[in-house]
Symmetry: C2
Subunit: 336 residues, 2 copies
Amino acid sequence: MGSKRVGNQSIVFQNPPFILAGYNIVGPKEGEGPLKASYDQIMNDTYNGEKSWEKTEAKMLETVLRGAADKAKVTVDSVEFILAGDLLNQIISSSFAARQLGIPFVGLYGACSTMALSTALGAMFIEGGFASQVLCAASSHHDTAERQYRMPTEQGNQRAMYAQWTVTGAGALLLADSGTGPRVTSATLGRVIDLGTTDTNNMGAAMAPAVADTILNHFQDLNREPDYYDLIVTGDLGTVGLQLLKEILKKSNLPMGKNLSDCGIMVFSPKQDTHAGGSGCGCSAVVLSGHILNQINSGELKKVLLIGSGSLHSPTSALQGETIPAIGHAVTIEMI
Amino acid sequence: MGSKRVGNQSIVFQNPPFILAGYNIVGPKEGEGPLKASYDQIMNDTYNGEKSWEKTEAKMLETVLRGAADKAKVTVDSVEFILAGDLLNQIISSSFAARQLGIPFVGLYGACSTMALSTALGAMFIEGGFASQVLCAASSHHDTAERQYRMPTEQGNQRAMYAQWTVTGAGALLLADSGTGPRVTSATLGRVIDLGTTDTNNMGAAMAPAVADTILNHFQDLNREPDYYDLIVTGDLGTVGLQLLKEILKKSNLPMGKNLSDCGIMVFSPKQDTHAGGSGCGCSAVVLSGHILNQINSGELKKVLLIGSGSLHSPTSALQGETIPAIGHAVTIEMI
């Protein structure tokens, strides 16, 4: 077994990489939400001067990659890898953003779990001695996702009350092998779990069992109790999925306390009429790189477990009658 | 700088991971090609008993993941990570295959460079001490790719003479921290390069500059000459792209000798009327996991450099008038 591997699925970093900076950008709706003070940039409209939403999303990712490097006071050229992904077919947002930066690029796909996956892998790159500075990022855009996964945006379809609203946002972290600040102390990479749900509007229900599996493995692998953490935050189950997660964990003898929350619930106010909350790779990316990182840096939080949750279906797989596979990837961030 | 990092973009493994086994499966057309003796399974038709080509492709990936573990005489449960990707939207082939195995899964997207990317990352996982056994895999299916990227398969469109034919195939490698056999000795991860081509039928032209960039960086980083290798093989530029690559490298004062070849050219015979040769994640995956690995194991080859080449566009990006970004990821495999 690899020496840094602990239990079934977890890795404990012996020299936990530092998060030197986080940077994010969101759309106007997100910018009116409860976390508005934690965003570096809020776009005035969903195009932000680009000719298509897809071009906007790529530009958003480029903005946060450069922004995180700037905030960390490192030059983009000194960053050794970009690890990024998004929801679009062939992850074009990430590839087109990486094109602008000229840095070796690792393209990832984990649906809404991508920010946790990229952070975990970025930390592994540093811990493994393969890099001293990496950029980890993810993005989503409500309108690019809507017209790719669901219906033409012009149609203005009515959404199910249990559906989540894809966040327009991108977030990036700059991880480094030295410095000061919060550190990525462990990671638990998830398995693909599919309990047979088929309603692609109800991704919370599809993802909750996968997130539960990763959480259960995390606590078993590290021999910890939930109260070890100040915050255990999923990204993003929404209200329906979070309730299901609580029920699964209770039945599995790992009841959660008040320290359990969800990026999809945090990112919008109930008044914003998003139904079950936010979703999309960008949701946990902007909440992690902004609000959560700020709270760790200010001392309000010391130990955080983020479990990114991804629904791994495609429109094609759904049309072919496949059930929805899902995954949860977890990273712990601690001020030590 | 990370201690294992060499030059701009390369990693030299201090304890090079072993390739314990490779396993592959191909479609009937590939099974009639020049490398037919190197395939573990040849399907009788493109469905292989499944109800859709997409389901077939997921099943193919599952088959090679299990096959590589079996051939290496390790149980699937003892494998710590699957690193895999494919061409389909949301990489459903990989996610659905990983669902069947219950192993932590890292989803990758590098288009046709995916096999090299997954092998590089798998080796990094082992070298970094994060795992002792990983499965690295990639797949493509001619018909799933054709109807997703180009035209309805029923239409029987005439193809450009410079177009490549997406291979129906999947390949997997089992990498381990101990054992015997060929070893992954270094990796050079690529940058996204885009010289402005827009013809998505001419992916060889789009990818050649990115592959050249990675090759130039590889030889500079490792301070090697091309004759260090018995085989330098791209995957997959086809006839058009390989010719362009030779020209670029010649102009860059790194002329290649007779040891340069391409998986897309090797996989089909000119008589098979595929025009510029093979392509798709599955192309380099089946050639690497079969023919090349066999030649290394038999002693015919001792030192191989594989440069996976990926065209990172999507149908949407092409329709929106974007040029084609591309990437090359390289791994070296040596019998040492």
